[in-house]
Structures are given as C-alpha cells and as structure tokens.
C-alpha cells in the first residue's frame, strides 16, 4: 500500500534549522512542511511590507531555502524519491517570497524548480466598516489603526499548486494543520467531504505542526520526565497511509523522545473541545484518538474522526493598539524581597504623581508572583535570594510609555538600597481580533511561474 512521509521543519518562525536539514537529508521524506505563522506574525509582516514593498515574508525564509533546496534538487536529479516543500513563510507577501525562493534556486544553480505562491488570504480590501469583531468593536472604528486582515485558508489552494506540479509551495495565512493535510488530500485523492479521512489527516497535521513539541521539546522535567539529547532534538515525521492511519517518528540517532506521553501532550495542545477542533477543511474529532508504541520513538496514532467543515472562515484582523512601556530592576541578598516590594510601591506612586497617562499597568516581582500571581507565588517556603521588579504599562502615546521605563531606571539613585541591572524598553502593540466571513467571500489563487 502507498504511504506518504511528511516531515515538520519548523514549529514557529524562529525555530532551529538543522533539524529540518536532518529531516530533508535522512528522513526519506515526500514532503517537508515549515509552519511559521503565529497569531500576529502577519500583522507585523504587513507593517514591514508597508515600509518596503518587497518585504513582509519570514526573515528566515532565505536561510531555510538555501539549506533544504539542494535536497529537493537531489530528489529530482537522482530519479529517486521526490521531495517537495510547503510553507506559510510567505506571511504578508507570498509573491515576493516565491521570487526570493526562485532567486536562491538560481543562485544555487538549481534549474527548473517550480515555485508556487498562494494568495487570497488577504481580505483587508473586502472588509465592511460595519462588521463586528470578537472584541466588540467594529472594523470601521479601528480607522487608520487597521493593519491587516487575513483569512485562514484550508488545504485546497495548496492541493491545486501540487496538482500544477510545484516543488515548493509558499503561502500566507493557511490553517496550520491544513499545510499537512494538503499533501495527503493530493496524494491519496480523498474527496473534499470525506470527513472521517479529513479528520484523521488533520490530526496528523496538528501533531506535526509544532515540530519539536512532539519529539520531546517543551516536555522535559528532570527526574519526572527526562528527555535525551535536547540540544540535538530531532523534528517529527509521519508515515501516513491512504486510510489516514499514521506512525509518528523521527530520524534515528536524533535527540528527543516520542512516546504516548509526548503525543498526548501535543494532541491536546491548543485544543478546546476535543470533539470539535475547527479548521477550514473539517470539524475534526480527537476524542477517540489513542496512541500505541510500535517501536522505540515510533508511535501509531488512530481513532480520529471528522464532521462537516464550518461554513465560515476565521479572519484574523491586526490593528495598532498603542504602546507598551516597560522597566525592570533586580534586588538580591538578605531583605531583597522587602526592597523589591518597596521599589514597586515607589514606581506606582511616581507614575501617579507625575501624571503618566496609562490605559493599564502591571507591576510584578519576577521570582515571586509574575507568572502565577501572589496567592500561588507565596506558596514558596523561605524568601528568594534575588527578585526582579518588572513594571509594564499600556499607553495611547509613545511618549507616555517611555516614562514607565524611565521611572524604573530612576530607582538606581532614588530608590531602595542595592538595585541593579535596570533595563527599559518601549514597543508598539499590534493587537489581533477576529471575525467570520462566508467561505465564498474568500478566493484562494495559485501563482505558478517556472524558475528561469
């Protein structure tokens, strides 16, 4: 029976590159998928594109392609297994990203490589000002602060690019599991309403989409959950059959671990109701999934199901939402906690006295209450040796946000004894809200131009 080997080359934009190269070289893959778009990545990329019309794609696109395209060429030239690449690294500018991939292919002397770009996710021009966002505001109320609006596309546009024989498919916003479902749809010829198989294929995509998070990354807890060789963590691959049954594995000799525990953690990651995991392709049902170990670091996944896909597509809307100013300073040694608490009180009072215009402010003690609040933070026995004060505030104006870090910094000469290592920063807030559009309002389009 025909099987398909799909590897995961990145779980986020800044991810490690060598594990992807290892998969391309030694994974006997048919497809290598790079998932690189977080919730607001496109909004940030859109800002970059406004400053430079050729920009707006993933900053690591060029390096990733330079490292893995030689394996795509090897597959073609050797007449052995063909390797194809799928990635959403196009972000806000898939057309420019595809041009960059062609340029790198030419630079490497790789001729005849077919690179496709998928567009249609950008629906900014189609939005109606009266449309309501999930945060209660209307699109129109955002005015000039509106930066981007992108639909989560499903697998179909990528399938079309593969049918057109693309070696590399570069997209903008596509739902993460759809990047992995597309090659299964294309290779196995599943019907678009074969919900059970689409549900299984979506499970595979969901398990692979965060790369190292299923091979032992984000898992180790020394003495409780140990993971070998995290510094050489291998990225995952799935061997899938035409029924959508799959075994998750990694390249032998790579670091990390794959077992039922790592697979279960990743299956539930970012899932709410396991019976209804919504994607543009299917309403996937993970509630009946089970995992079994078939060999060391090889786990079979089965039991996923699916129902009809949603009639609407989720649109992610990026908008500018003021500025966050921040300052930090550390206290150590006996009495550190009391001095840090005094420093916190002083900064909050200073922000009031000097009239800093804040929408919201948060002052926390790193080492005590910054992650889980004071009630849980105070469960610790004994006082911490060192504590770091962090004050962050959101302001409409940049100039106001700057004053927050400045107030923290003035603790050097005006605050409690022994503060050290003060830092300050200001950043613009690019916030994200969402809305739903009818499916037929969004038109995916494949652009395929042969490399010279």
């Amino acid at each position: 029976m025909k099987t398909l080997r799909i590897g995961s080359g990145a779980g986020y934009s800044g991810d490690r590159i060598e594990p992807a190269v290892e998969l391309a070289d030694k994974g006997a893959l048919d497809y290598l998928v790079f998932e690189c778009l977080a919730e607001r990545t496109i909004a940030l990329a859109q800002q970059a594109r406004l400053a430079n019309p050729e920009a707006g794609y993933d900053p690591l696109l060029s390096e990733r392609m330079r490292r893995v395209l030689p394996f795509v060429a090897r597959g073609r030239e050797s007449g052995q297994k063909r390797l194809r690449i799928i990635s959403n690294m196009g972000a806000a500018n898939p057309l420019s990203a595809a041009r960059e991939v062609r340029r790198i292919a030419a630079e490497l002397g790789l001729h005849g490589l077919k690179v496709a770009a998928l567009t249609g996710d950008d629906v900014l021009a189609q939005l109606n000002p009266e449309q309501l966002l999930d945060n209660g505001a209307t699109v129109g109320s955002l005015g000039e602060r509106l930066v981007s609006a992108n639909a989560y596309l499903g697998a179909e546009g990528i399938v079309e690019a593969l049918q057109a024989d693309a070696d590399v498919v570069i997209t903008g916003r596509v739902a993460d599991p759809s990047l992995f479902l597309a090659p299964q749809l294309f290779e196995f010829g599943w019907a678009q309403d074969d919900w059970a198989r689409l549900g299984r294929g979506t499970l595979i995509g969901h398990l692979l989409e965060c790369a190292g998070q299923i091979t032992g990354g984000y898992f180790a807890d020394p003495g409780v959950k140990d993971v070998a060789d995290l510094a050489r963590l291998g990225f995952p691959l799935a061997e899938v059959d035409a029924q959508g049954r799959a075994v998750i594995g990694k390249v032998p000799g790579s670091g990390g671990r794959i077992d039922t525990a790592t697979c279960t953690e990743q299956m539930i990651y970012e899932v709410h109701d396991p019976k209804a995991y919504l994607t543009p392709d299917v309403t996937a049902d993970f509630s009946g999934v089970s995992f079994s170990v078939v060999a060391p670091n090889e786990v079979r996944a089965e039991g996923a199901d699916g129902r009809a896909r949603p009639q609407t597509l989720k649109i992610s809307v990026g908008y500018l939402d003021g500025w966050i100013g921040e300052g930090q300073i550390s206290y150590g040694g006996p009495g550190a906690l009391g001095r840090a608490q005094l420093a916190r009180d002083v900064v909050l009072e200073r922000l009031k006295i000097t009239g800093v215009v804040l929408d919201d402010v948060r002052a926390e003690l790193i080492g005590l209450d910054s992650l889980h609040g004071a009630a849980l933070g105070l469960r610790t026995s004994g006082e911490p040796w060192e504590v770091r004060l962090r004050v962050a505030g959101r302001c409409a104006d940049r100039a106001e946000a700057v004053r927050i870090g400045n107030e923290v910094e003035t603790l050097y000469t005006n605050g409690p004894y022994g503060g050290g290592g003060a830092t300050k920063s200001v950043r613009q807030v690019v916030a994200v809200a969402s809305l739903l559009l009818p499916r037929d309002a969004v038109k995916p389009r494949v652009h395929l131009e042969d490399a010279s």
């Binding site: 607001r40 409780v224 299956m267 995992f291 926390e364 992650l371 004071a374 849980l376």
Partner: protein, 107 residues
C-alpha cells in the same frame, strides 16, 4: 488518608488561543485516571487559579479524553487580553500548567 501532589500522578501542557488558555492533565498511569476524574473538577481548577481568572469571561470547562487518560481544562479570560495585548511577562500563559501540578489529591 494521604495526599500527593498532582505532579507525581500526571503531566501537563498549556496552550493559548486569544485570551483563553487550555491546560491538559494526563495521568502517567491509567490506574490514576479515575482519581483525576473524581477530584480534579473544573471548580477545583478554577479555585486554584482564582486570582488570575476573570469571572466575567465565563466558567472553567473540563473535557475528558479517556482513551489517553487525560483531562483538558479550558480557562477563558485568564490571558487578560491575549498574547498580543497582555502586559504579563508570560503573555502566552505557557507556565500555567506547571502551577496546576502543585494541587494535592487524596490517595
């Protein structure tokens, strides 16, 4: 009756979507799963994170995944505006699951 920390019986991972967090709790051994079902209720988890939750955002929900001896808790509003707007150091709430493992269960 003796008590043990959840960390000895189960492991956990936290995910984020908007300003909602989901925390999985997965029993190391199938024989401990009924104990999680009985004692690790949505109310218990909500009480543990009371200081961080926003009552206006809705109640904590619990989903059961018996095939993989796991529970999934969904905590609306705990990320205070979500990753993109939050002032928190850990805007994703990635570290929340670790705090849950400090809960004590009766054996």
């Amino acid at each position: 009756m003796s008590a043990v920390k959840l960390r000895e019986l189960a492991h956990s991972r936290t995910g984020d979507k908007g300003d909602t967090s989901n925390i999985s709790v997965i029993a190391f051994k199938a024989e401990d799963y009924p104990r999680l079902l009985d004692q690790l209720t949505a109310e218990r988890v909500a009480a543990h994170f009371a200081e961080l939750l926003d009552p206006k955002a809705g109640a904590v929900r619990r989903y059961e995944l018996p095939n993989v001896q796991a529970l999934n808790f969904v905590l609306p509003g705990i990320l205070k505006g979500g990753v993109t707007r939050s002032l928190a150091l850990d805007a994703h709430g990635k570290a929340l699951g670790a705090a849950l493992l400090d809960i004590e269960l009766e054996m």
